[in-house]
Each structure stands twice: as C-alpha cells, then as structure tokens.
C-alpha cells in the first residue's frame, strides 16, 4: 500500500535535489512546488510556524536571523539554533525540510511516498547518520537508506575499472575510490572533510570584496552578511568563465556607487590554500590506490583552478556523460533499485569495536567490510556490578584516534558473566548494537540505534526470528513430512511479519519460543 516509489534525496548544504528512478522510464528529477528541481536547503522559524525550502529562502534576505541552511554540518553535535527562548536541534530543523521535500515528491508522483535513499557526506559517522534517519522517520518516511554522496555518484558513471570520484559541493569535500566490475561497483575507501566547501570560498571572496570596496565587514547574522555571501557566490560562478569581473556593490550595502574589479588570477591566489589542501588529499589517495580515472561532481568542482591543478599534478578529470550536475541525486535514486545488472556494495569506512578494560579496542567489524555486515562476540565480565560497554570507531587505542560513539550500561553483572555484543551495520548504512547478558538462561537485551529504539528493533527481531527458524528446522528433522511442512508454514508466517510493527514480531517470537520449548521436551526427553 505505502508508496511504490523510492526517491533519492541529495540533501546538499545549499540545495536539496530529488530524483526518482522509475523502472522503464529512467531517472527523473522531481520539481518542487515552484517548478525548480533544486530546493534551497533552508528552514525559517517564524511566528507563524516553521517554513522550509523556497518559502524559507524568501525570508533569508529580510530576516536572516531566523533562517538556517547549514543544519547538516551540525548534525550529531551539540549545536542548537536559538529563536527567542526556544532552541532547535539540527534534527528538528531538518524535519520540516524533509517533509517539504516528501510532499513535493508526492505531488509529482501522485502517490504517497514513504521510502527514500538519503545521500550524506562520506565523513558522516553513525551518530550523524542515525540522527538524520531519525529526522527522516519523523517527517514521514518509513524506509530509509543512507548512502555516501560520492558513492551514489559512482553508480551513475557505469565505468569499469578503478576510479576516484570527488564530490566537491557547497559544504563538504568527499571522495570515494570505487572499483567497477561489469555493473557491480565496490567501494574501496571513502573519505571526506566537512571544513572545505564552496561556502568557505564564498566567505573568503566576500571578505576580499568588502575589504577592497571599503565596506565595513559585517558580523554573521547581519542581513548584509547573507546578501554579501550571495553576491560572492555569483561573482565566483562568473569567474569560472570570465577572466575578470566588475562587481557593483548592491544598493542595500553602500549609500554611494562603488565598483571593484577582480581578476581570475586574484581569485585564484585567494583560494589557492584551499586547493592545495584538496590536492594533498587527492594525491594521497592516488598514491595509495593508483586508480585509472578521476571524476569530479558537484558545483564547486567547476572552478577552473581546481581542474587545471588536477590535470597538471594528478590526472585530467573526466566529465560524467549523464547527469553531470545532478549525479548524486540520480545515483541515490538508482541505489533504491539495486539488482543483478547494477549493484553497489559499500564498505565500512572505519573499524567498529568496543573498548576493553585497559583502554584498548577490540574490533568487531573491520574497516573495509562490505555492507551489510554483522558480528557477534562474547566477552567475559571483569568485576561485578554495572559494566559499561563503550562502542568505539577506529582501530587504535581510544585515547589516540578512535572515537567513542556511545556507551551502554548494563547492571547486575557478576564477575565472570558472559556478555554478548552484537553489531550490525545494515545495507542502509545504519548501526545497530545489542548487548546481552547471559545468566540463568535469562537474557537481558539492551540495544541502541544511536539511542533510538524504534529504528533498531525491526531488523534485530528479524534476526531473532531467523535463529528460531533454524532451531525448528533442526528439531523437525525427526518429524514426519507433514509435520515438517506445517512447521515451515508457521515459520513462514513469522517471517511475513518482517518489517511490520515490532510488537507483533515480538508476539510471534513468543509463540515460536513456546513451541520450541514444548517440542524439545518431546524430542529430547
């Protein structure tokens, strides 16, 4: 019943884009309610309520202090937006934006849409992904998958062989090394930085223009600052094709008429340090894997300096043949319909493990594991009382490079108890963790999906059902054929519930458990 379409969302820092891959019709880009295929990723908090998308963009000039557009950069941090006495977390701000995008897709497709693929920057870790998935769920999506932005773009290329794909957008720089093999794309490594993006270039350029035009630098939040950023953006775009640009200060900024001439050379010397950083990253990847091709996507990759630096020091970058501008959105839409002809296998970009008593990391899932991946490991408790299970990312000792994702506490543990830890990263890029204490055959389960219960319970329950299915299959070996087929029928019914309400699945598990207990008494008296 719920929507037959899965839409791909490229939730960019500045613009969001929607695409859908309709079987038999190819990828289509979904226009919003104003007819544009790019929706500004802006959210405005006003007295009349929250506005998002185009409506918010209109408010950006007049009321910049109540409009936000860089929530995505702050996901997973303590950052909050303050409006009067209320504060909003990045998730709360993303929610209306995602709702607006969903509605646009529904209006275009004439049906309810409840599943999506969200493209996120490669440096997003599990807390950020979890937070974004939670916002998407609250905004009305039931099935959510998350894919790395450069990885999604790789799906569009259709290239055979090893290539490096760089997504340089407004807010982030991401790159993926991908191996294509006859329609199967396997990611080897993804990297990204959140501190290099087109907006940082705009900010530099805006400061330069202000300095040279004698305009006092305004503090951020000032309406003039956002106007200046818009001006800088258009000057930057113009400089990609023109050799010099005459910038006229808009009437709102200065009382008299002022013009500044900026040449491309001046602009390039301004942004050179940034480009050097990018080059360093790319060269490192290039030396490590020696790929055959280099591809660039994203608005900021059009800067001529970047292209010429690539050609002289790395390799001439190729243009994408299809959807050069919108590869990420198109790729995420294509990722929704994976099949035999076109399959993308993403990998875990950093190892996952738990911290042991002396601060070392015990890895459970290794870096580079193809997704979906799962791992189960039993530990012996050391000391009684409450123990903490700390989930960390990275291989090294926690104090150096590893990153603590979450700490789960289970109490009532005795020295020598066995504690089972179960990690699962699903194909949708979300992490599920379960910690079980095995004592007197009673199991206590604590699980998290970066502290959201509703998200994690469904896939875990499916695994639970599968375990019971196996046990029943073993038990029924000694049964006559008709009993075996009836047992199969019962487990099939339980399997049908996958993806349904968790409470129903739990009931089904109870029934299976009861049946197993009774049958075991007969078979092994």
């Amino acid at each position: 019943m719920s929507g037959e379409y899965t839409i791909g969302i490229d939730l960019g820092t500045r613009y969001a884009q929607l695409a859908v891959d309709i079987p038999g019709r190819g990828v289509e880009f979904i226009p919003n309610r104003r007819g544009n295929t790019r929706t500004p990723s802006m959210v405005a908090v006003t007295k009349e309520g929250i506005a998002a998308g185009e409506d918010a963009a209109r408010l950006a000039i007049t009321r910049p202090d109540s409009v936000w557009w860089d929530m995505k950069r702050h996901l997973g941090t303590d950052w909050v937006a303050r409006v009067g006495l209320r504060t909003y977390t990045p998730e709360e701000l993303l929610l209306p934006l995602l709702s607006v995008l969903r509605e646009d897709a529904e209006a275009y497709l004439h049906t309810f849409v409840s599943s999506c693929v969200l493209a996120v920057p490669a440096h997003f870790s599990f807390p950020e992904r979890g937070a974004l998935a939670r916002a998407a769920r609250l905004s009305g999506f039931d099935r959510i998958r998350i894919v790395n932005e450069p990885t999604a773009a790789a799906l569009v290329t259709g290239i055979n062989g090893r290539f490096l794909i760089i997504d340089f957008g407004a807010g982030t720089l991401d790159m993926s090394l991908v191996e294509g093999d006859g329609g199967v794309f396997q990611v080897v490594e993804s990297q990204g930085r959140r501190d290099i993006g087109g907006l940082d270039i705009d900010r530099l350029l805006a400061e330069w223009l202000c300095r040279n035009a004698g305009i006092p630098l305004s503090r951020p939040g000032d309406p003039r600052a956002s106007l200046m950023m818009k001006e800088a953006e258009s000057v930057k775009i113009e400089l990609s094709s023109a050799n010099s640009v005459v910038w006229r200060a808009p009437a709102g900024l200065v009382p008299d008429e002022r013009t500044v001439v900026i040449t491309r050379a001046e602009f390039e010397s301004l942004i050179y340090p940034f480009m050097e950083e990018i080059l360093k990253m790319v060269e490192k990847m290039w030396r490590k894997y020696s790929p055959q091709r280099l591809l660039t996507v994203g608005g900021s990759s059009r800067i001529p300096l970047l292209r010429s630096l690539f050609s002289s020091r790395v390799r001439e970058p190729d243009r994408l043949k299809t959807y050069p501008e919108d590869a990420v959105a198109a790729g995420s839409a294509m990722y929704a319909y994976q099949g035999k002809e076109r399959l993308l296998i993403d990998v875990l970009s950093r190892s996952l493990g738990i911290m042991n008593a002396d601060g070392g990391v015990v890895p459970l899932l290794r870096k580079g594991s193809p997704l979906p991946a799962e791992s189960r490991r039993t530990f012996t408790a050391c000391g009684s009382g409450a123990i903490e299970v700390t989930i960390v990312q990275g291989e090294r000792r926690v104090r150096s490079i590893g990153r603590v994702l979450q700490t789960l506490t289970i109490d009532g543990v005795f020295d020598g108890d066995r504690v089972e830890v179960f990690f699962r990263v699903d194909g949708g890029g979300l992490l599920h963790v379960e910690v079980r204490r095995d004592k007197n055959t009673k199991r206590k389960t604590i699980s998290l999906d970066t502290d959201d219960e509703s998200l994690d319970s469904v896939p875990d329950l499916a695994a639970e059902i599968r375990i019971r299915e196996d046990r029943l299959a073993k038990l029924s070996l000694s049964f006559p054929a008709d009993f075996q087929s009836r047992l199969c029928g019962v487990t099939r019914d339980a399997r049908v519930l996958r993806g349904e309400d968790p409470s129903l699945q739990r009931q089904a598990i109870e029934i299976l458990d009861r049946m197993i207990a009774e049958l075991e008494r007969v078979v092994f008296p």
Partner: protein, 331 residues
C-alpha cells in the same frame, strides 16, 4: 579456520590471486546480496563477506598481515596438515549426524507423541494466524497516520492525494477530526467537496463538519453551495443548518433551500424576510409565499405583497400573493 575453506566459500582454488578473489566476491554478491536476493540471501552473503575479509587480510597487496611466504603457501606445510584434520573431523561428524537422522526417521514415533506434536503445531498455527490478522489492523493504523499527516500539509496537491486515499465507508474518528481541522483552515475546493461530504455521511461528526462548511458558505461557488445543500437535505439536518443558505447571493440556492423547508417551522426573522421578499425571481417567491401563507406576517410586508399581487409577471406569484393578502387582511 583454514585458508582453503575461505577459498572454497568463494568457489576458488587455493592458489587464486587477490584479483580472482575480488572478482569471485563480486560475482557471488550479485547473486546473494540482500538487495538482490532479498533477506534470504543475508546469511550466505555474510559467509561470503567473512571469507572475503579474511582473505583480504591474508593475501591482498596492501594487507598489513602477511604477503605470501613459502611456508604459508597453500598446499604446503601447516596449511595442508590442518586441512586434513579438519576434513577428517567434518566427515566423522557428518557420518554421526546422518546416523542420528536415519535413526529418528526409521523409528516409528509412538502415536501419543505424534498426537502431542500435532497439537503443539496446530496451537502455534492458530496463534500465528491471530497475529497475522492483527497485522491488517496495524497496517490500517499506519495508513490512517499517513493520511492524517498529509492532511496537515500546506501543499494542496498532497492534501488532495490524502483525500483521495480516505476510504469513504469506514472513516475513523481521528481522520474525521483531522479533516475537520483541515477545513477549518481551508475552503473546500469543488474537486474534493463531493468526496469529503461522502466521507462524512456515515460519521457521527457530520454535524460538526456541517458547521465548519457553513463557515465557508459565502466563499463557495453556486454549484458547490448547491452540492452542500443537497447533501445536508439528504442528511436530514435540522433547519438551523439550512438557514444560512437563505442569505446566499444565488437565487437558485435560496430557492432550493426554501423548496425543502419543513412546513411546520417558521422561515426567518424580520430582516432576512425583507431581503427574501425583495427578490424578484419566481423560483424563490413561489416557495417563499407558500410557506408564508401559514404564518402570521407583520404589517409592513403588506405593501410589498400587494405590489407583487398586482405587478409580478408570473401568474403563480400573483395568485399566492393575493391569497396571503386576502387571508391575513394586510392591505
């Protein structure tokens, strides 16, 4: 675990190169990746990835573990010896297991035990059936939630979509409330009006909804107002819901409202009556006068009625007017 076993999982011989491993992994992934094979491939896929990751650490060029050395080479030294032992144990175990299975099969189960197992299974079957039927309820619930969420949308096309999805036969209370809330804020468009009225036909909240619609009456088009009026008549709403239609600008709406006015209650108060009498349309005047005949009319209506009696082009109006003037001695 021996390295042979990993190679076997990927369908390779133990001397395969890392490139072969990658290719084999992708070929297998194309068959068993959960996105292709569905959840049933999940276990097989995790076996494949397990083997792939182990081999990656052992033989991939970038692996920190060990580049191939002579001692580690499959087919020589420790590797083979281990694998022989492993094979031996596996064979032994599988033979034992087969014996156990055969024993169970051949052994005729006592009928009492058979009956017991049958009972256990059928109980589980019926319980599972109960859950499956509850599932419908849950889907219906999530469907209602989805519709209500969309009714709150500001996007008209999305609201329209939600309205189309509402089942007209079994509208739940929460949906009805969401609809009422929506139409408090928005004038119903002609496209959805008929459908929404249909939805509320069997709802206990239809009078509440009727009040909401009456709030928008002045902004409805003539055709829409008639649609609403006809529906209200069919719902047999009390005259208080019909009364607002009498002040409509469209004479056909007024006429229709008057035509169905119950004979046993008064039409309206002074100012509205004056407005109605000022109307020149035959379709309005005939039903109005027919109703007025049974009432005690105030003296000021006399002048207008006499005028109608003498000057109105329609004979029916003249007859009714003169009848009232005669009966009530208004002249």
């Amino acid at each position: 675990m021996t390295r042979d076993a990993e190679f076997r999982v990927l369908g390779l011989s133990p001397d395969a190169s890392w490139e072969d491993v990658k290719r084999a992994f992708r070929r297998m992934a194309r068959l068993y990746h959960p996105d292709v094979a569905g959840p049933s491939g999940a276990r097989r896929f995790s076996e494949i990835t397990e083997a792939y990751m182990t081999l990656k650490e052992l033989i991939s060029p970038g692996a920190a573990g060990a580049p191939r050395s002579a001692a580690d080479e499959p087919g020589s030294g420790t590797g083979r010896r281990e694998s022989i032992f492993a094979r031996f144990w596996r064979k032994l175990f599988s033979r034992e297991r087969r014996k156990y299975e055969n024993f169970c099969r051949d052994d005729v189960m006592p009928p009492a035990r058979m009956r017991f197992i049958g009972e256990v299974i059928s109980r589980a079957e019926s319980e599972m059936y109960g859950i499956l039927s509850k599932r419908e309820e849950f889907t219906a619930k999530s469907r209602t939630d989805a519709i209500i969420r969309r009714l709150k949308s500001k996007h008209p096309a999305v609201v329209l979509l939600a309205l189309r999805q509402i089942s007209i036969y079994s509208v739940k209370d929460d949906t009805a409330l969401a609809l009422i809330d929506h139409f408090k804020r928005n004038v119903p468009s002609s496209e959805v009006l008929e459908r929404v009225l249909e939805v509320f036909t069997n709802s206990p909240r239809r009078e509440e909804f009727a009040r909401v619609v009456l709030g928008h009456l002045q902004r409805l088009s003539e055709a829409d107002a008639l649609t609403v009026l006809n529906r209200f008549k069919r719902w047999k709403l009390p005259p208080v819901y019909i009364q607002p239609f009498l002040s409509s600008k469209s004479s056909s709406v007024v006429a229709s409202a008057l035509a169905s006015w119950p004979a046993d209650c008064g039409v309206c108060g002074g100012t509205e009556l004056a407005g109605l009498l000022r109307n020149d349309e035959e379709t309005v005047l005939v039903p109005l006068l027919r109703l007025l005949r049974k009432e005690k009319l105030p003296q000021w209506t006399g002048g207008r009625l006499e005028k109608l009696m003498r000057e109105h082009p329609s004979p029916a109006v003249r007859v009714w007017a003169s009848a009232i003037v005669r009966d009530q001695n208004l002249s």
